[in-house]
Amino acid sequence: MSALLKSREAILALAIALLLVVIASRFPAFVTPGNLASVFTDTSPLILLALGQMVVILTKCIDLSVTANLALCGMIAALMNGAGVPLPLILLLVVALGAVLGAVNGLLVWKLDIPSIVVTLGTMTIYRGIIFLLTDGKWVNAHQMSEGFKAFPRAVFLGLPVMAWIAILGIVAFVLLVNRTPLGRAFYAVGGNPHAAVYTGISVGRTQFAAFVLSGALAGFVGYLWVARYAVAYVDIASGFELDVVAACVIGGIAIAGGAGSVAGCVMGALFLGIMKNALPVVGISPFWQMAISGAAILIAIAFNARGSGPKGRLILKTPEVRA
């Protein structure tokens, strides 16, 4: 299985390389290191959200409320900034708030056994509704934000903006979490075989809860990054972006049925989408075609996944060990 996954990631890496070659043939400036770095920076929010989504999907769930969570936390960050709360405290509070919003999803899935798609469809509307209640639908604009608040994500550190460093940090943390901690192992066990997980003493609900809290905390943090970077906060920011997040996971080979997938795949899935979003306008392809191409990428990725993970039969002919 792991060899197969590796090869699937290799296929994805190849696809990204191919994409870059095609783009470079028409627009060489796109593949300069400086531009690639800026594409990576631009894709950072997607990468971070996709990492959170990945662990949720690993446990057989889905979190559609990520971007509503992001918008609510972003708005609250902007409001706190307006009220003069210092930035470090804002960062701490948005992560905590995001985690709480994620925990609401997780608790509903865990304790009430409601399918996650229904839970997060509901909370996504509620979270956006709360923004409206907080602001009466008013925007928080750039001139209402302090310079420090807006500058942090763009501040350059060792040649890369803080935003990009945060994404890199997130990737490293998730590689460790997923591969090297008991919780990470539990995500795979719960998604791979929930019945067996129960018989192993792993609580399926609690593990799913943990995944939602992680996804929520990341969404809260990205909420600040988003609002600070684009210097605007309103009800509808990042609306519809949750589908890109899920798409990044699916393209990256995270099995939608749970239990399979890797951080590397997830990140490459996000990068693939990010490169397309940034490159296609440059190459002069209309936004409508961009959507069609993104859609086709998802279907192709799913087809690959289905081929890889289909039923293998009983392996009747491969039974030397049985006869032994």
Partner: protein
């Protein structure tokens, strides 16, 4: 009298298992034939062949003397063979009338279903079996007994000549069972041939006219019920020698490890009590559904008992979750390996270390070298054959998957290991290895509970046997009292000594 349905020399094999090795079965009009056999004797397989779900590998099926085949379930139904299963296969969201006539509803103008005619015919059919059901009632609102009635009305509506009843009384109350007996009498009077599968001897003697006995996929005998007694039937069911060699070593039985008293569950079992000693293999025998697995699952914290106490050594332990059970030193290897055992998609070593991650991690991070070492230690003890510990568990054979699951639990250093049907569905070579290992575990001082439906395995491996029936402990045997006859008598509920 010629039989309506006659099977001769029916063969059926599954990979690694010969389910039926040349069995015969005759069903006569207006007679109830009881099909008797232990778990795994081949009863379910023959029902599936009769209803067109399985195709036999060899042999003949004759309907009223003419040889035929049932390539599909529809073909069996067209030939007039219908089955009423333990869990009746009907459609919960449809009405009684729709269930009765699905597939052959009376048609009106334009080929549309004539609802009125359908409900009228349904009413007439239901009346003919004295069933007081509304044709337009939704099936999901009915109890199991009523669903059986609908299934029987459906059988009559397609003019079935052969009705197969597969443990029809398993889920019925006493009153409903009486009604079912009346119904069987009605069907007999209508000249239907009935194949009645049941584990309950009192029931068989009450309603059957003839019997056929299978054992290990082979035909043992048939005849009129009037010519046999219970003892003779039991003899036919189990009449084999325990010829397989079991690697049971004389055990050094020590102090009590696990004491269970008054263990009860609201719906599954009642008043179960036993003591398990160090170094002992305690067998739990019973028919499928006797409540053995349910007791074990409660001991492992999967389900919660309503009453009763569990003592580990001298210490009372509360077990409300699997984690508490593992902490108390009780581990459980479930029967359904595919579903409850191994996590397919994860490599072997990760499956083994899953409950022991606390021991293979440091500072919250897993250490792969430790994980591999632990996995290697326990899989080697079990003689697991795999290309590498990095291999996906899903690619292993059933026997080796079983070893991975057992290795996983041994790695937690338990005091009590519960093995639920440890060798079900695995090949003989792996079986012997599992038996051998079970013996070794006991010799090392572990206390072993073995739930098994295979009599030779129970007799060959266990030091003591507890027999369960209908959620209660029916009997306990040790030493010379551990005979096939005694086990089966206790399991099916016949009093007295073996004939």
């Amino acid at each position: 009298m010629t039989p309506v349905l006659s099977l001769r020399d029916i063969q059926k094999s599954f990979p690694g298992v010969k389910a039926l090795a040349g069995v015969q079965l005759d069903l006569y009009p207006g007679q109830v034939t009881a099909l008797i056999g232990e778990n795994g004797a081949g009863k379910s397989t023959i029902v599936k062949i009769l209803t067109g779900i399985y195709q036999p590998d060899g042999g003949t099926i004759a309907v009223e003397g003419r040889e035929t085949r049932f390539p599909t379930a529809q073909a069996a139904s067209d030939a007039g063979v219908t089955a009423i299963h333990q869990e009746t296969v009907l459609f919960d969201e449809l009405t009684v009338a729709e269930n009765i006539f699905i597939g052959h509803a009376p048609k009106g103008r334009f080929g549309l279903i004539d609802r009125k005619a359908m409900e009228a015919q349904a009413k007439a059919l239901l009346a003919s079996i004295h069933a007081d059901l509304e044709p337009h009632a939704r099936l999901r609102d009915l109890g199991i007994a009523s669903k059986h009635l609908v299934a029987i009305a459906r059988a009559l509506s397609i003019d079935a000549r052969v009705v197969i009843m597969d443990e029809p009384t398993a889920a019925l109350s006493h009153k409903e069972i009486q009604e079912l007996y009346d119904l069987v009498a009605t069907l007999k009077a209508k000249g239907k041939a009935i194949l009645f599968i049941s584990h309950k001897f009192d029931e068989i003697f009450r309603i059957a006219d003839r019997y056929t006995v299978f054992r290990d996929g082979q035909f043992v005998g048939e005849g009129a019920m009037a010519d046999v007694n219970e003892g003779q039937l039991v003899q036919m069911m189990v009449g084999r020698s325990v010829d397989q060699i079991y690697p049971k070593r004389p055990a050094q039985i020590g102090a009590p490890v696990l004491t269970v008293t008054g263990y009860s569950h609201p719906t599954e079992f009642a008043d179960v009590g036993f003591t398990l000693h160090q170094g002992e293999i305690l067998g739990f025998y019973g028919l499928v559904g006797a409540g053995r697995s349910e007791v074990m699952q409660a001991l492992f914290g999967i389900t919660k008992p309503s009453h009763g106490a569990v003592k580990i050594g001298d210490e009372v332990r509360v077990i409300r979750s699997t984690a508490q059970a593992v902490a108390a030193g009780i581990v459980y290897v479930p029967e359904d390996r595919g579903k409850q055992g191994a996590v397919k998609g994860l490599p072997i070593y990760q499956n083994v270390t899953l409950p022991s991650l606390g021991r293979t991690s440091k500072g919250g991070f897993l250490r792969m070298a430790q994980e591999f070492a632990l996995a290697r230690e326990y899989t080697q003890r079990l003689d697991l054959r795999a290309a590498s510990l990095d291999q996906d568990v899903g690619l292993l054979s059933g026997g080796n998957q079983q070893k991975v699951v057992i290795a996983k639990w041994l790695a937690t250093k338990p005091r009590v290991i519960i093995l639920d049907e440890p060798t079900k569905g695995i090949d003989i070579g792996s079986k012997a290895a599992v038996h051998d290992f079970m013996s070794e575990l006991a010799a090392q001082g572990l206390a072993v509970i073995m739930v098994s439906s295979e009599i030779p395995e129970v007799l060959g491996m266990a030091d003591r046997v507890i027999v369960m029936r209908e959620g209660r402990i029916a009997a306990e045997f040790a030493g010379d009292a551990m005979t096939p006859e005694n086990l089966v008598r206790a399991a099916v509920g016949i009093e007295g000594e073996a004939a």
